[in-house]
Symmetry: C2
Subunit: 123 residues, 2 copies
DNA sequence: GTCATAACTCTTAATTTAATGAGTAACTAC
DNA sequence: GTAGTTACTCATTAAATTAAGAGTTATGAC
């Protein structure tokens, strides 16, 4: 999870795209592996680190931690820590998070119909 | 552009996600760099390799070729080749492609409002 | 005193993705 | 006969992303 090399063409191209359209910024976030499932999981009330980890059986700890951090940074989820031993932390969707989730469900219906098995079929 | 290693955890996790929800397959496609801009470009009538290359100033040839191939494979665009010298090839959106483009515009409005400068603001 | 627990962090290694730069075909204009 | 055109392909290198595995902290249960 070390930072990017901001002097690379790779980086400046990403910036070019994000400046052209904020959709590219959103897609860049959504394309991080596991992130949609984490968002949907939290929406459905699966709101803790360990239970999310159980649901998404193959995710590794550092990735889950990173994704939760990202979602919080983008204000799509918020985090509440309870001072207990062992610690308890709960995540919930923000209003923006709920709105995104709703939009993604629409897109999901589209992909269900149109992305069957690696190739689109006519809608 | 060589193939993936299908025995990796990286690969099997991607499959796990795509089987969980087809949205992940769609996002995986949309997350390929430049692909949304190519889709929008073609929608707006910028329908040739060279002109797309000019519009997206920093894209490299092999990436553009790969993205066009992908979009065609997913039946979001179709390709017409004219037997001329120098060759001429034109791309157009399929019905599915138009529908996707429409859906992405909605998502784009969302991201315009909510992804201001790397961090979401309340809607 | 050893183990378990939750929610993480850190380093390193494997894998995937994107970029660079050269090359191709077939013809036209100069 | 040299350069220019379009729509590509190919091999190599650079960079980014993901995964693996160990470590942390404070406490309660045994």
């Amino acid at each position: 999870m070390t930072g990017r090399k901001t002097s690379s063409t790779n980086y400046s191209n990403q910036i070019f795209l994000e400046e052209r359209c904020s959709l590219n910024e959103l897609i860049n976030l959504l394309s991080k592996r596991w992130i949609t499932e984490i968002l949907f999981g939290i929406e459905e009330g699966n709101n803790r680190f360990t239970t999310l980890k159980e649901e998404l059986r193959h995710i590794s700890d550092n990735i889950l931690a990173d994704r939760l951090r990202l979602l919080e940074e983008y204000k799509l989820i918020s985090k509440e820590s309870f001072i207990e031993i062992p610690p308890r932390v709960e995540y919930t969707l923000t209003d923006t998070g709920h709105e995104l989730s709703r939009q993604l469900e629409v897109l999901c219906n589209f992909s269900d119909q149109c992305m069957v098995s690696k190739k689109a079929v006519s809608c």
